[in-house]
Symmetry: C2
Subunit: 210 residues, 2 copies
């Protein structure tokens, strides 16, 4: 199980500083949507430059203009980029094509996808599906409780995201995803390093070591 550190609502400098404190306990670094929309590709470029050996996830949440946006991400140092599962299928296919061409990875954010969309998304074997409780659903909708939608495709790679804390981590472990995405559970912790170590050690002990 890999730990993806999600960096949101921070300056690029703050993002670099908090990542420095925890880098030995995490696997993937996510440049959050808020960093991309506030600072543009500078955010991706500077995180890759600060952590060249880490996998950088650009959470660009593409919904259209897929080739342009995915090329932007990969040219600026991202190893993984995200597209919304709720986007038109033609955009998702374009993301897969660009990732293949660059030998990079696609993550599909399943937030608010329909059953019909999930039916074709779950057929893909060359990408990561992310089950996601959104910030707004947590903060304003009172939504909690992570689940993975059912699929008969055993080769799906799963990520789980959304307000994961040390308290809720045991619930995540039961789902045993390939990637667990943690943001404020680390970045806003009193001691980010201690928090990251907790997640990392528990993930290594109980989860798949992918």
């Amino acid at each position: 199980m890999m730990i993806q550190l999600a960096l949101d609502r921070l300056s690029i400098e703050e993002a670099i500083n908090v990542t420095r404190k925890v880098e030995h306990h995490i696997d993937w670094i996510e440049v959050g949507t808020s960093l991309i929309k506030e600072f543009g590709m500078d955010s991706v470029r500077k995180m890759k430059s600060a952590f060249p050996d880490k996998t950088i996830v650009a959470d660009i949440k593409t919904f259209d203009n897929a080739i342009y946006e995915f090329e932007l991400c990969f040219k600026n140092g991202a190893d993984v980029a995200t597209v919304m599962g709720a986007a038109p299928k033609v955009s998702i296919e374009a993301c897969r094509d660009v990732a293949k061409r660059y030998n990079k990875q696609v993550m599909i954010d399943l937030l608010n996808t329909t059953d019909e969309q999930f039916a074709y998304l779950s057929e893909y074997e060359d990408l990561v599906l992310c089950a996601h409780i959104s910030k707004d659903e947590q903060e304003h909708g009172g939504k909690t409780g992570w689940t993975l939608p059912l699929t008969s495709n055993e080769n799906v790679m799963w990520a789980v995201a959304g307000g994961i804390s040390p308290d809720s981590f045991s619930e995540i472990m039961k789902l045993n995803p390939h990637v667990v995405i943690i943001g404020s559970g680390i970045t806003k912790a009193e001691d980010p390093e201690k928090a990251a170590k907790f997640f990392s050690e528990n993930a290594r002990v109980k989860g798949l070591n992918l």
Copy 2:
């Protein structure tokens, strides 16, 4: 009918230069999603600074983290910001709240919304609904033909977007939207000023003068 100039796949400098050529023929200036994701809020700030008297639309395509993203847009000079209709309802409500607080406007991008989503989106009277054929649907999906979904709400304000050219403009005029969004039909025209003048004159003559 208002003309919204959509600026995409350009540098900020190119966006300012092309807008200078056509500013007398357009009403709203859209800082496209690609500019925001490439250059961050710098793109919104610089466009507002270059055209302080124009309405600036930040096409941020919010899907989550609505308060943070909408405040970013309005604090940096946007007068209108966009949210995806396919996003969780709680996010759309948050966008409306922020816009109300800042005395600004919300535009909802209807791309790939479900009938269920459209049913509640079309009840709102304090925002603009945008019927949108996406770039990817045009370029890779062969989709054309604009329609406005049916609603009994006569107070809906409509925008129409997606590959609108001088050739297809008569089709748009029949729909008589409040806002017609034109990107490469102006920015990639051989003579952008001539193209903008064509759209503007035809909109004034045949459409509602809103």
